[in-house]
């Protein structure tokens, strides 16, 4: 069983790294739409896929993954907004977990927007 002692060990390890984490004003943001519409369309596995892919690539200090509400385009859910500092915000639509590694690799790592997944490509 998971013990609280284990949590203490995690705390001590995290403390050593925590300053690095807070001193990153240039962190990119991934916002997953998680209102009723997003959740019903399958946003939860998408958010998990982003979290996993970002952890796998060791990008947790450079990218934050969080949820946002409904931005009014429910027909295109799951909707994911990617904000890289200094660049225009990009809105990806009808995102499936299979699309996530490519968005992380192309957009968040190499700063090339995956144009065919964006709202511009669908409209």
């Amino acid at each position: 069983m998971k013990s609280l002692a284990e949590l203490q060990a995690i705390r001590d390890r995290a403390r050593a790294q925590i300053e690095l984490r807070q001193e990153n004003p240039n962190a990119a943001k991934v916002l997953v739409g998680m209102a009723t519409c997003g959740i019903a369309a399958g946003a939860r596995p998408v958010l998990n896929a982003f979290t996993e892919e970002i952890a796998k690539r060791g990008l947790t200090k450079d990218v934050t993954v969080t949820q946002t509400g409904c931005i009014g385009i429910c027909q295109y859910e799951p909707v994911v907004e990617v904000e890289v500092p200094g660049q225009e915000k990009v809105t990806y639509v009808k995102v499936a977990p299979e699309m996530v590694p490519r968005i992380v690799n192309d957009h968040l790592v190499n700063h090339n927007v995956v144009t065919e997944y964006t709202i511009g490509a669908i409209k």
Partner: protein, 184 residues
Amino acid sequence: MRELSLNVMDVAQNSVRAQASLIYITVTESDKEDNLTITISDNGCGMTDEQVQQVIDPFFTTRTTRKVGLGVPLFKLSAEQTGGSFDIKSKLGEGTATTASYVKSSVDMTPLGDINDTVKILIQCNPDIDFVFTHSTDLDSFTLDTRELREILAGVPLDTPDVLEWIRQFLEENTQNIYGGAEK
């Protein structure tokens, strides 16, 4: 919604928006009593009696981005279609408690689904809010209280990846236990 856990995630976000600092999520299952009850309660801003009536109406929402609000109506439907019941109790300035009660054996019962994933994501996305999650069956029950975790973590945020992984495993192991699975 394909899983009740998704309704829970949806409705819990109303508590987040109501500026709650503490949210209780309680799932009580009983095969003996053929019942599953989900309660989401918070210490947020609460609602007037009139507002409580409004949130049950699908054509009411406080949002300006669209004209419908389906979170609460879908949750209510999921319970009532099994022959269960649904209730919202709220007091302005004190908080809100939403309870959905299901007849487990009903053909129209929606599976609970991955409730642990819901709890983990709620903590991940709202690391400054405290969650108390209790899940019980006829066999046993367990509670995850982020206030206790916070005390041990002493300033390390709950959304630290290693902490979230600990939470995930804690939930998984305890869930196996209350469903009578083998202990690791």
